[in-house]
Subunit: 164 residues, 2 copies
Amino acid sequence: MTVDTRWLDQEQKAAWVRLAAVLELLPGALDSQLRRDAQLTHFDYFVLAMLSEAPNRTLRMTALAELTTATLARLSHVVTRLETRGLIERFPCPEDKRATNARLTDAGWAKVREAAPGHVETVRETVIDALTPEQVAQLTEILDAVLHRLDPTRARAAVYERYD
Amino acid sequence: MTVDTRWLDQEQKAAWVRLAAVLELLPGALDSQLRRDAQLTHFDYFVLAMLSEAPNRTLRMTALAELTTATLARLSHVVTRLETRGLIERFPCPEDKRATNARLTDAGWAKVREAAPGHVETVRETVIDALTPEQVAQLTEILDAVLHRLDPTRARAAVYERYD
DNA sequence: ATGCGATAGTTGTAGCAACAACCAAACAGC
DNA sequence: GCTGTTTGGTTGTTGCTACAACTATCGCAT
C-alpha cells in the first residue's frame, strides 16, 4: 500500500523549512502593517492597486478576480465591503448585461496613494533590503519556476510579466 | 507630510510581484492537498509533526506555540479541535500547575505517518523539483536573510536550524 | 505571610475565506 | 424562436484566526 516516497534530503529540507516559515510569517507582517496604517488587508490593497492601474480605474469583476488570483465569490464579498466604505463603486457593464464593472472612486484612489509608501517601505524592510541585487535576481528566477508549477495556465502571468 | 519614498526599481518589483503571487497561491495549494487527503490544515499538520518529533511526543503548549509561530490563543483552539478528533490529548503539567502538556496519541501518530508522503510529494511538485540544486541552495540563503528580518528574535530558529 | 506583577492557558466574539447553491443573461444548436 | 448549456456574479453557511477579557498559578520582594 505504501508508495515509495522520495523524501527530501538535508539541503532540500533546509530550503523547505525556511520557506514554510516565511509563508507563515510574511503575510501576517504585511497584513498587520496595512491594517494598522490604512485599515486594509493585503488583499484589499492589492484589489485597489490593480484597479488603480487599470484604464479608467475600472475592471470587470472577472478580470479583477484573475488579476488577484481570487475566486469570483471571494472577490464579490471583498468588493461589497470596499463598496460600503466608499472606496469602490459597482455598476452594470453596458456591453454585457451579465457582467459587473468595479471602479475605484476618488476616495479609493486617495486611499491607495496614501497606503502605498508605507507598504513599499515594509516590503523593503522585510525582503528587498535584506538581499543583494544578485539575490533579488535569483529570487525572481526561482519564483518564476515555482509559479510555473503553481499556476500552469499562467492566469496571473499578465500581472507579473509587466515587470520583466 | 509626504515622506520621500524609495520606490522599487524594475528588478525589485519583478521579484516582489512574484513573491506576492507565491504567497497567495502556495499556502492554498498545500492546504487543499492536506485537507483533501488527510482532513488536516497545513497548520494542523505542522502541529502534529512538531509533537511527533518531540520527546514522548509531548510538549507544553507554550513550547508548541513557539515552534509553530502561533499565539497561545490560536494554538489552544486548534488543539481543542484536534483533541476532539482524538489526535492529541491534553493533561496538566505536574511541575507547573499553570501549564498544560499536549501529547500526540497513537491515532495522531498514525495520522502523521499517513499524511507525510502526500505532503512531501506536494512540496516536491510545487517547489523543490522545479529548482536546480544551485537554486535550492540560493533559496535557503535568501530565505535566511528574510527570516532574519521577519523574526529577529529567532524564536523559530530552533526549528529550522535543525536542518542546516 | 502577603501582595503584586509576570506567566500559562482558556474562552467568547467578530471578521474574513472557502465552498456550494443559486439566479440571470448570453449563446449555440436545431 | 425554443431549449440546453455556459458564463458572470451574488449570497448563505461553515470553519478558522485575531483580539480581548478572564482565571489560575508562580516567583519574588517586602
